[in-house]
Symmetry: D2
Subunit: 281 residues, 4 copies
C-alpha cells in the first residue's frame, strides 16, 4: 500500500469533501487523516488528507485532477515516504542549525536537509559532521545579485522544496522572496509584531517585558511581516540582562523553528491571505 | 438554513467519509467543519461534522441513518442552536460554579445550566443570582440511595444531557456512574494520575512539586480514574504553603473545568476506550 | 508581635543590608522575608523586608530613618495587617472588576477595595453586591477637567493608596498621570509592545499571531508605555475569530491584572527607570 | 576584587542576616545578590549571598566561621569563577548529554564537565567531540559492586562536586546514594509523582493524559522519590502515540535537566527535608 498526503485549496462551495472522498473510494483507498478549514474572511477552503491506496502516483493524480476539476483547486500530492527537500541558510549562530540536524538524525523531522548555505565559513564543520554539503556564498552589497544567482543555481541543483533561514543575517532580495513565496521560513528572535528589526532582546530588556519570544514565519519582501507559522514565549525577570535573554532565547528560537519546519515538511501549513492555517497533529 | 452538529463512532473501514459527505450533498448541505480520528489501538473511527442544510432534523436523521447503516455507527445529531442541558452539582466551594454561571451569562459557554444540586444550602444565593433553580439534596450514608433517587428524578425532570461535578464532595454510587457513563464530568484538583484522593494540594506540598494542576475527567465507578478531558498546571515555588496552593489551584480548576464543559457542550469529545479524542477549535 | 513590610530604594553602596538588619536587631526583630536587587543599568538598589518586632510603628520608623539616613533612601513602612486601599475604575466590561471583587472576598487579595468609579452606571449592581461604594463620574471632552477634580476628591476622601484601571475606557490627563505616577495600574488587552491602541484582538487576528496576551502596567502620560508589571499569553489558532479572541482574552486579562494588583498590594513591585523589579513569592 | 558565593543553612533565629552582613562589611565587601528563606515546616533558615570583596578566600572563610559560629550553620563558600566540577553518567540515549555539552560550550552553563561515564560505549564519540574524557564502566548484577568502586575512584580522581544522571539506565546502590546524598541529579521522563518506574510515556499514553512532563530530582535510595529540583510539561493530544511522546519528551527532558544542573552549579538549590528551596535568578 502507498500512503499519500494530498493538499487542496480552492474557493469554498458544497461538494468538495464528497468529490475528494469519492476519488479516494474509486482508488480503493482509505482516509487515515483528514483536516479542513473554511476561512470566512477570504472564502477559501483548505484541506489536507492522508490516505492509503494501492494505486500508483500517476493514477492518483489523474483521478484527483479529473474528479476535482470543477472546483479549480490548487492541488498538492506526494507519497508520504518521499520526504520534502530542505536547504538551510545560516550565518554564524549555530543553535538552530545544530538543532535541525540533530532532530533529523533522531528521526524527529521527516525531511531531507540537502544542503547548508552560509555567508560565513564558520558552520562548515557542523554540516560536515552530519554529512550535509556546505556551500559558502559570501554576500556584500556589490555581490548580492551574483550571490543570489549562485543560490538559485543551488536551489535548482538540489531540487529544493523549501528554504529555512536558521538565523541567516542577510536580507534576501524582493525578487527572490516573491519567486519563493510561501517556501522560505525565517526564525525571528522576538514575539512579533513586538520588537521588529535588529537586537530584539536588547529592545525587550529596555522595555522591561516579562516574557520574551520567537516567531517562525514565511518570508515576504516586507521584512518580519510574512504569515506567522509558530510562536512561543519564555518568562524573564528584572534580573535577566540582555545577554541572559539571548541565552534563554536560543532555546525558544530552536524549538519554535523546529516545530514550524516540521509542520511545513508534513504539508500541515496552508496560507490564506496574510495568515496561516495549521493542521496540527 | 439549519446548522447541524453530527457525531459518529464506528469501526474504521473505507468509505465512511464518502458516505457521510454523500448524505450531506443529498441534503443540499455544505460542510462547515469536519474533524475525524482513527484510533489505531482500538480500531475505532470518530468523526464530528458541522454542516448547514435547509432540510429538517427528521429528514437529516433519516438520510444519515439510511446512508450510513452499513457501518453500524453510533450517531449523534442536533441543531447547533439547541443547546445541551447541563446540571451542576456542588458542595460548599463556589469558584467553579461561579465561573460556569458567569461564562454562560457572557455567552462564552454554549449550553443551558438548567439546575444546581447541592448537599449543602450555601450556594443557593449564587444560583439564585443567575436565576437558576437550586435543589438541596442532603446526603448521608443512610440516605444515599434516597438522595440518588431524588437526583435521578431531577435529571429526568430537567431533561439533562450531562452533569458537571463542580467540586461536589460526595461520591456517586457505581450504579449511577454506570448509568450516566460518559455524561458526568468531574474536576479533580490535581494533575492526575498524581495525588489521587483527598487533600491533593497538601500532598503536593509534602512532595515538593514545582507545578500543581487540575484535571477534568469523565466519572466512572473507579474514583479519579475516568477518561481525561482536559488538564493544566501552574508553577509553584518552595514559598507556597498548602493554602497558597489552594488559592492558585482555584484558578486552574475553574479554567480547566470550563474548557472541558465547553468541549462536551459542543460535542467535541469522543471516548475511545479509557482515552478521549478532542476535536478542538 | 507586629509584622512589618519595609521597602527601600537608594543608590547602591556597601553597608545597606547591614544597617537595615542592625536596625531590626536593635528593635528585637526577626526578618521573615528579605528580597533585594541591584540594577546595574541605573545603579539603584531596591529591597523589601518583612520582619516581626514588638516595637510600635513610630519607634520602628524612627529607628530605620536614623540608622539608614546615610543612604538617603526612599523608605516605605507599614504594618502588614493594614491593607493597602485601592480604588477601581471601570467602564462597561465587568470581567476584571468581578474577578477582583471575588478574589478579595475569597481572601486571595490582601487589600481593601474602597470604592468603584465608572463613567457608566452599568456596573453599579456588581459593586453593590459586594457592598463597595459606587460612584458614577461621566466624562466627555468638555467635562473632563471637572470629572478629574471629582476623582481627585474621591481619591482624597477614601485615602486611596493606588488606583486600578480595570478596563476603564477613558484616557486620564497627563497631569493626573504625573501626580499619581507609580500608583495607577492599567490592564491592556494585548501583549505589549505589540498591538498598542484600539481593538488589539482585531489587530491580532489580522496579523495572524499564534498567541494573544495581556499586559498590566503602570500608567504614564505616554499611552500603553508605562513600566510593565505582569504579562501572560494564551494560544490561539486560525479557527479563532476576533470575538473568540475577546472571549479567551477575558481570562488572561483578569488573571494578569489580579496578579499585578496583588504584587502592588503586597509592596512587591519597585520601579527602576522604565522597568519594574518584582519581588515575587 | 573577588566575587564569592556563600550558602548557609541553620535553625532560624534572629540575627543571622545581621551577623552575615556584618562579616561582609568587616571584609570591606559589597553584597551583589542575597536570597533567603525560612521554612516554617522544619524551622530551617537558608541563605545564598553573592558578594564582592578584595579579601582572599581563607580570610573570608575565617571571618564567616567566627562571626556565624553562634548559629552553628552549614556553610558553603567558593569563588564564583571556580566552577563546580560535574561528572555525567549516561547509557545510550544522547539527547541530554548532547544538550549539556552544547550549553557548556556556548557558555550557558557555568560548570566544568570533567568526565562522562557510561555502561555502554555508544556515546564515546559525542564526549570526544567536546574533548571530555569518556569512561566505559559496564554494569551487571555480578559486577555492580566492582563497577561502583570504579565509579568512586573516578569521582575522587576528578574531584567531582556533583553527578548528573543524564538518562542513565542503571540503579545506583543505596550506599552510593547515601554517600552522595544531595549531590546526584537524575532526570526522570515523567511528571512525578505520576508514572513512576519504567516506560512512563507508554503509561501516559494508556492513561490518556493531556500533558506529559519531566522531573529533575536529587537521587535517594528510594527510586524516583528524592527532592524535586525542576519540572515542566508539554501538551499532547489523542493523536500522539507513545513514540511521538518519546520524541516530544526529549525536548522537555533536556530543558528541565539543563535548568536543574544550572541551578545546582550556581549553588541556588537548598534541600530542606524532602523539598528543595530554589533561589532562582
Amino acid at each position: 500500500m502507498n500512503v499519500y498526503v494530498m493538499t487542496l485549496r480552492c474557493d469554498d462551495r458544497p461538494g468538495i469533501v464528497h468529490a475528494t472522498s469519492g476519488a479516494i473510494v474509486a482508488l480503493a483507498g482509505n482516509i487515515l487523516e483528514n483536516d479542513q478549514f473554511t476561512d470566512v474572511a477570504t472564502g477559501q477552503f483548505c484541506m489536507r488528507t492522508r490516505f492509503a491506496s494501492a494505486a500508483d502516483p500517476s493514477s492518483v493524480t489523474a483521478r484527483l485532477e479529473t474528479d476535482l476539476a470543477g472546483f479549480s483547486p490548487v492541488l498538492g500530492l506526494r507519497l508520504e515516504h518521499e520526504r520534502r527537500r530542505c536547504l538551510v541558510m545560516v550565518s554564524s549562530f549555530d543553535h538552530c542549525l545544530a538543532d535541525l540536524l540533530y532532530r533529523r538524525e533522531q528521526g524527529d523531522l521527516p525531511l531531507d536537509i540537502v544542503a547548508v548555505v552560509s555567508n560565513h565559513p564558520d558552520l562548515a564543520p557542523l554540516a560536515e559532521r552530519y554529512h550535509v554539503p556546505f556551500h559558502e556564498v559570501p554576500v556584500s552589497d556589490e555581490t548580492k545579485p551574483d550571490a543570489e544567482n549562485h543560490l538559485r543555481n543551488l536551489l535548482a541543483a538540489y531540487a529544493v522544496d523549501f528554504v529555512v533561514l536558521a538565523r541567516y543575517m542577510q536580507i534576501l532580495s524582493p525578487e527572490l522572496c516573491a519567486q519563493w513565496s510561501g517556501r522560505i521560513i525565517n526564525i525571528h528572535h522576538s514575539f512579533l509584531p513586538g520588537f521588529r528589526g535588529a537586537r530584539p532582546y536588547h529592545q525587550a530588556y529596555e522595555r522591561g517585558v516579562k516574557l520574551i519570544g520567537a516567531t517562525a514565519h514565511f518570508v515576504t519582501s516586507d521584512l518580519d511581516e510574512g504569515p506567522i507559522i509558530e510562536q512561543d514565549v519564555v518568562r524573564v525577570s528584572h534580573a535577566h540582562r540582555p545577554l541572559d535573554m539571548v541565552s534563554l532565547g536560543r532555546d525558544i528560537e530552536r524549538t519554535v523553528l523546529a516545530r514550524a519546519v516540521r509542520l511545513v515538511a508534513e504539508d500541515r501549513v496552508a496560507i490564506v491571505g496574510q495568515r496561516t492555517v495549521i493542521f496540527s497533529q
